[in-house]
């Protein structure tokens, strides 16, 4: 279990703002941090990794204190059992895929893990390739594998999929879930992508201006109780088309585009790129078997 408490003054574009958060994460949980940019999500990951300090800190992982500002205790980053994947991954350009993974090994580590990861992440056919010959999605798969070479307790993912297209994002999500389960990791993901949060997370922590707004299961945090409707999707507006006196709003929800009719008044509050909840009553949709 991870117990995390941090207080730190952050410099943001709108001046200083305190980050003041406290949360617990169960072993094996997949937790996502969600919120606007500048909310403090990346800072939380960096503090947990030991890359950033804070005025007040208490981090305990499985009973072991990693940080305690009271006791002036700070476990160095090398001694923390974590794997980290950023959006802009950096693989060693002069090393092959396999060598990139081997580089992460330390003296007494079992080398078998590299073979195992190459197989699990379906990188065997690419193992002799140099990073420059890989696609964005393939590089990110290598970065993910490399983060797990040392079999960390905690995997930290900071918007790892924001640079890849939707199809690749979908596949990479499956790889992330696969390693999360296979290595019984506790994973913390920073993401803005709602369908992704729904698919991957056991728990979502919503952070705004340095504080936790709410936390819980994704469906409860994002929609439950806001409206009684049971047929709900969250997605992003991709197009708004005027038709006669009404408007048709195209919403991308997961891999599907749904169309919603809206009035002129409603359109004033909607724009392309916005995240929206689409709701209908459970009484309306028809259900048919497809084969």
């Amino acid at each position: 279990m991870i117990q995390f408490y941090a207080y730190k003054m952050l410099q943001t574009s709108k001046g200083t703002q305190p980050l003041n958060v406290s949360f617990n994460i169960e072993k094996g949980q997949f937790v996502s941090l969600y919120g606007n940019s500048g909310a403090g999500k990346t800072t939380i990951l960096r503090i947990l990794a030991g890359l950033t300090n804070a005025e007040k800190l208490l981090i305990e992982v499985d009973g072991e204190v990693w940080d305690s500002s009271d006791k002036k205790h700070h476990l160095s980053i090398q001694k923390r059992s974590i794997g980290f994947v950023f959006q802009d991954f950096a693989l060693f350009p002069n090393l092959t895929v396999k060598e990139n993974l081997e580089f992460a090994l330390q003296k007494n580590d079992n080398k078998k893990i590299v073979e195992e990861l190459l197989e699990l992440m379906e990188l065997e056919s690419l193992q002799q390739s140099k990073p420059q010959n890989l696609s964005g999605g393939q590089k990110q798969r290598v970065a993910l594998a490399r983060a797990i070479v040392r079999q960390p307790k905690i995997l930290l993912l900071d918007e790892p999929l924001s640079a890849v297209d939707d199809e690749m994002r979908f596949k990479l999500q499956d790889y992330i879930l696969k390693v999360h389960k296979h290595y019984k990791l506790t994973t913390i993901l920073v993401s803005h992508h709602l369908p992704e949060l729904y698919k991957l997370s056991d728990k979502v922590i919503v952070i705004d201006k340095g504080k936790i707004l709410k936390e819980g299961k994704p469906n409860i945090v994002f929609s439950e109780q806001k409206i009684s409707s049971k047929f709900k999707l969250t997605g992003e507006i991709i197009e708004i088309i005027k038709s006669d006196i009404i408007y048709v709003v195209n919403v991308l929800a997961g891999n599907n585009i749904v169309k919603v009719v809206a009035t002129e008044d409603e359109i004033n509050n909607l724009k392309v790129g916005q995240k929206v909840l689409v709701a209908s009553k459970a009484f309306n949709p028809m259900i048919q078997v497809i084969e």
């Binding site: 049971k230 006669d244 009404i246 009035t263």
Partner: protein
């Protein structure tokens, strides 16, 4: 979306489904059916403030006041304005201070000879009304 404020006056639940009655400011009672009970949704308590939500395209307009039909929500209104399109028209209905918008076909509008200040009934089926806690 039409969004009206109301207060829950009665909840009748059976096997996970509830028939909820809510009174609006003009003492008009709306009935909604939801797949929730006071156990599954905290806000479903008599006396609680709620929002009554329904889509413009689900509002039926009738010129007759006495109707022998199954639609449970029948609200006497006055037509405030009509915006006519080629195929569809938006009729803004007034009851008290509240506006209910209805989108019907322009053909229906013509057939009923709807015009401003007409007295009409707005009809909404029970299963077209969603509820939301008003906080």
């Amino acid at each position: 979306m039409n969004v009206l404020n109301g207060v829950i006056t009665q909840i009748q639940s059976h096997e996970g489904i509830s028939l909820v009655k809510a009174k609006t400011t003009k003492d008009i009672v709306f009935t909604s059916i939801v797949l929730d009970t006071s156990e599954t949704a905290e806000y479903l308590k008599e006396g609680n403030d709620i929002k009554i939500i329904f889509k413009e395209t689900e509002v039926i307009i009738s010129k007759d006041a006495e109707l022998n039909i199954s639609v449970q929500n029948q609200i006497p209104c006055i037509i405030q304005s009509i915006k006519t399109g080629k195929l569809l028209s938006q009729v803004n209905l007034l009851f008290g201070e509240t506006i209910i918008k209805s989108i019907i076909t322009s053909n229906a509008c013509k057939q009923l000879q709807l015009k401003e200040n007409d007295k009409v009934m707005a009809l909404i089926k029970t299963n077209e009304i969603s509820l939301s806690p008003n906080d």
